[in-house]
Each structure stands twice: as C-alpha cells, then as structure tokens.
C-alpha cells in the first residue's frame, strides 16, 4: 500500500472511502503503466479487512503475490485465510483455447464468468483488466453489458468495483465512455509528454464524481510520480528530487 497515494487521494482508512467504481486508466504507452495501482488497492482493502476477489486476465497469481510482498502485504496468507480469492482466468484460457474448435468467443463465456462472480461473496471486486476482453475478440456490447451487470452487483453488495483500462482502448470507444460515466473515481497514469525519464515516471491525476450529489466533480491536481521497487513517490510537478 502506498501511503503517499492515500494522502494524494485524500483518505486514510476505507471507512472514508465511499467509492463505487474505481477506474484506473493509462494515458498512453510508457514503460510504467497503470497496473501498479492495482497492487495498492489489493493491499489497501485487505489491510482494512474487506473480502477481495481478483479476476485476473493479465497475469498469473504469483505475480500478484510477489508484487504484494514488495509493498508489504502477504497475499498467500490472505488467500489461505479466505480474505482474498483469485479467479485465474489466464490459466484457464489456455485450456479454453485448445478445446475450442471455432475461434469465436461468444458471450456465454462472459455470462458464465458473471454467474461465477455472483455466486462468490465479496466486498471488493478487482478486474485486471477489462480492456483485455476486447482484445481477445469479445463483442464490445457484451463487454459493456458484463460491466454493467457487475456494477449493479457490486452496488447490491455495498462494495466496490475496480478495473483497469489499458491505453489500447480508443478514447472514442463505447467501452471507454461507459467506464468514464460509471466511475466515481478515475485515476489516470500518464507518461511525460517529452518522453521517458528515469526520475519522473509520469503524471498522476484523479477525478472524483459524486453520484449522490448529481454530477459534482472534484478534480485533484495532477502530480508527478516516481515508482521504485517498493514505494511510490508523489510530488508536485517540477519538484522531483532529481531537479531540486
């Protein structure tokens, strides 16, 4: 869990968190992209004692375990205690791919996945990542419906839905617009406009939308960040330690 990120977003414990749908998005291709925020949220919610389900399409479970241990969260213990459940979609995709005769990924796979997630008990659902479903050939409408159903489900459970939008998703696409509209908190990770730098890895900005208060939007100022192996440093633009 990155303390500086919690300060940046303005909360200390999850009781102050009333978010419904947290959207993490990439501003463009860079060496360091949004997925690191997922680890923060996994450890943050686990530390507060909520039940988390992670549906991972992008990476296999050991990746999350090792990355979690780097920021001080023992995910293996959490899994054995039952606080964290990982749905390893990447691992099962190999068998699915080899057994399918046709190449059309139909909406029934998404329906099965939805039913599976509905049957589980959780407070926080993390999907890594929803844009990958588009890459894999699912119909965009199916993916949007899937997301909508999950959003309704998470609101019913009184919990939170977190997902990641990779930069390959077009800004004009329906999925992108739907995610932006549903999200109560959007965190954008963008690389510097001038190219990659070792001291400043990019810009971090957050937008909060208050759904109860009829579209009041709160924008946090964009800050710059540097990600090291174990921590995240956030600083105001231009005040990187390399510059001062």
């Amino acid at each position: 869990m990155f303390d500086q990120l919690n300060n940046f977003l303005g909360w200390r414990t999850t009781d102050e968190l009333k978010e419904d749908f947290i959207l993490l998005k990439d501003g463009g291709p860079s060496f360091i992209e949004a997925p690191f925020l997922l680890h923060h949220f996994i450890s943050f919610f686990l530390r507060s004692g909520h039940k988390v389900v992670l549906a991972s399409l992008e990476q296999t479970p050991p990746y999350y375990v090792v990355s979690g241990s780097k920021i001080g969260c023992n995910l293996e213990r959490e899994i054995s205690e039952g606080n964290l459940e990982v749905v390893d979609l990447l691992g099962s995709s190999l068998d699915e791919y080899l057994s399918l005769n046709e190449d059309k990924s139909n909406s029934s796979t998404l329906k099965d996945l939805y039913q599976k997630l509905q049957a589980m008990t959780w407070k926080v659902l993390i999907i890594d990542d929803i844009s990958l479903l588009l890459n894999l050939g699912h119909n965009e409408n199916d993916v949007i419906n899937f997301l909508h159903y999950l959003h309704v489900l998470s609101r019913k459970k009184g919990g939170c839905l977190i997902t990641l939008l990779h930069h390959t998703v077009d800004c004009d696409s329906a999925l992108y617009r739907k995610c932006e509209r549903l999200a109560t908190l959007t965190i954008e990770v963008k690389g510097l406009g001038t190219g990659f730098s070792k001291d400043v890895h990019g810009n971090l900005s957050a937008v909060k939308r208050d759904i109860s208060n009829n579209a009041s939007v709160q924008r946090k100022t964009s800050k710059q960040f540097k990600l090291t192996d174990r921590t995240l440093h956030i600083f105001a633009a231009g005040t990187s330690t390399a510059v001062l």
């Binding site: 296999t60 375990v65 920021i71 899994i79 691992g91 995709s93 791919y97 390959t168």
Partner: protein
C-alpha cells in the same frame, strides 16, 4: 500455491535446483536465460525471464530479426535446452543447419596492455568500456560466417513444426487452425515432466527450459493483415502467455509490424511481455550520422514479471552493428567530428568586421 515464474533459491545448493543455462536476476528474483546476444542481455537486465514472451518487431526485410532468432536458438543449443520452431519452411532442419558457430573465448580476451611507464597507476584498472561491451558472464559469442556442426546440436531435444503440411493444394487453412496446432504441439512438449515448473523443489528432477521460436508470425504467409486476424493472433498470444507462465519456457516471436496499423501493433504489444523494434539502414538512405550502425533498436516494452517496475537500461537510444563475431548493441552517439583541415582554409572563415582586410572588401562607400 504453485510457483510458476520459477525463482531460484539463493544459497549454495540448499534446496535450490539448478537448471542449466539459467541464472538468477540481480534486480529481482527471476530466473533468466541468455538471449544469445550478450549486449541485448545487458539491455534487458541480465537476459530473458523464464516464462515470458518477447516480440521482435521486424525490420523491413526481416534480415536482422532472422539473425536474432538464429542467435537465440544457437544459445539454446549451447545451454542444452529443448528447442521448438514452428515455421513454414519445408525443411525445418535447414534453420538448424544455419545456426552460427560459437566463438571460443580465447580469441576475445585481449591481452593486457604492456607495462605502462608513465601511467602506471592505471595499469590494474580495466579499460573504459561501455557496460554493453563487457565480456558476457553467461552468454556466448557466435561467428555468423560459420555454421554449427551437426554434432553440436544433435544432443539437443529439437522439435520443429512444419505448418506447410497442414495446407493442401485445394483448401486454405485458416490462421486460427494453424495457431491452434502450434499451441497444441507446444503444450505437449511443455507437459513433459522436465519442463513443468515444480510445485516442490526436488533435487532429483532434472529440469530444462523450452526455447520456442516462431518466425514471422502475422506475415502474409500466415494470414492477411485484417483486424479480425489481429484479434485471432492476440488470442493465440494470450494463451501462449498462459502456457509460458505455467511451464519453464521462453518464447521469441518475430512479427512484421510494418504491415499493421499502429493501433493493431499496440494490441499485439499488450499481449507480449517484452517488445523491441528493429529498424535497419539501407546503404543509400542512411544518415551519415549513423555510419557505424547497421540499424536502430527501439525498446517498446520491457519485461515486468514479478515486480512493480521493469528494469530500465542505462540508455534508451540504442543502435546495433553486426560484426563477424558479435552482434553489438551500442548506445547511439554521434561519430567524432573529424573536420578536414583543408576545407577550413578556403577563405570562408568568419573574420571580424574590424579587420583591416575586410574593411576594404565589405564596406563600400
């Protein structure tokens, strides 16, 4: 939990299983294999992580990407790894006969400089070399002008898949079938006990790495460059990633990305772990600044398995030069400015306006 990206336990043999040809990373706990090109290993932070897929975005004629694949396979032979090649060559054995021959290390180590009389304090220091130039600890150098003898690679477990055999004269086999059969074959190799990442570290089981190479995936030989085919290839790469993570395998795929739109190339890059783009120079159009390079290498994606931050090399501007015994990747730098002495004395030098000679010529009353 099954540990898929296999990490070697440090310590001298205390429960650690040593897999030949691999070494632990200095930056994170990953197991790395050499890519066959020592300077590329330095750029990637020690080598290719086991369980990852690397995409080489081909240059215009695919010349250097083919060479990179040859180095990759030759390194596998040297380390006794199992090799897998899926291509459209009719005689798959031909690619094996073209592997470069390894260079013995005696030729490479230069002799120590002889006794220095004035700068004797510097005698014991190493010469100032770029880290990309340093002699490799784990890799080998290969002589591209000579090929490996059959005796050298016969002991390796080599599997080739000739995709031409799937196509007949009448029917056009869709690309999804070809990709599926490739993955099936690879899956059967990977399910062999020596290639699966073990759940418990047992000193008795002999483990080995599979090096998979797929040349020119997505080229017109495979399929047309339509958006549907891109998503078919993306699905294949996704399933390949699942297979690679669950077994001891590294994969290098070369893709002619100049045939696809930037958006489609982005999709494909999303599916692999590491991507480098090659741009080779043709003799006529080369910028004279790049006279010592054969081409440029651009890092598009760096492998980030098991860590928050990928290893970022010292310099991101890289160029390569193919010498007889080395495929050398160097930092881009301008050549030394050796301006000719004669050209300057042409009388075009700027003289100050107050100079007596100039006054006569330039000022006209």
């Amino acid at each position: 939990m099954k540990r898929t990206t296999f990490t070697k336990k440090s310590g001298k043999g205390a429960g650690g299983v040593v897999i030949p040809g691999t070494h632990p990373s200095l930056h994170n706990g990953l197991l790395l294999v050499s890519s066959g090109i020592p300077s590329l290993d330095v750029v990637l932070g020690g080598g290719l992580p086991v369980g990852s897929i690397m995409m080489v975005e081909e240059d215009l004629f695919g010349r250097f990407s083919k060479i990179i694949l040859k180095y990759y396979l030759a390194e596998g032979v040297m380390c006794n790894h199992s090799l897998f090649v899926a291509s459209f060559e009719d005689k798959n054995e031909e690619i094996l006969t073209q592997l470069p021959k390894p260079v013995t290390k005696d030729i490479l180590t230069g002799s120590k400089t002889d006794d220095m009389k004035i700068a004797f304090r510097y005698r014991d220091l190493s010469t100032a070399t770029n880290s990309l130039d340093a002699p490799p600890k784990y890799g080998h150098y290969y002589d591209i002008s000579r090929t490996m003898d059959k005796i050298d690679y016969q002991h390796c477990g080599i599997t080739t898949l000739n995709l031409n055999k799937l196509t007949t004269e009448d029917t056009v086999v869709p690309v999804s079938t070809m990709l599926r059969s490739t993955l099936n074959k690879l899956n059967t190799i990977a399910s062999d006990i020596q290639h699966t990442a073990p759940k418990s570290i047992d000193a008795k089981t002999k483990l080995n790495i599979i090096r998979a190479a797929i040349p020119s995936l997505g080229s017109p030989v495979w399929c047309e460059n339509t958006a549907d085919n891109v998503s078919i290839i993306a699905r294949f790469l996704h399933a390949l990633r699942a297979l690679a993570r669950n077994s001891l395998m590294t994969c290098v795929v070369t893709v002619p990305t100049h045939l696809y739109t930037p958006q489609q190339v982005n999709f494909m890059r999303h599916m692999v772990d590491c991507s480098i783009e090659l741009e080779s120079f043709t003799k006529e159009k080369t910028n004279p600044v790049f006279s010592q390079f054969h081409g440029l290498i651009r890092l598009k994606k760096l492998p980030c398995l098991n860590s928050l931050v990928p290893f970022i090399p010292q310099s991101l501007d890289l160029g390569f030069e193919l010498k007889k015994t080395k495929f050398q990747i160097k930092c881009l730098h301008l050549p030394p400015d050796m301006s000719d002495g004669g050209a300057e004395n042409d009388g075009k030098t700027q003289k100050s306006p107050c100079d007596s000679n100039t006054l006569h010529r330039k000022l006209d009353f």
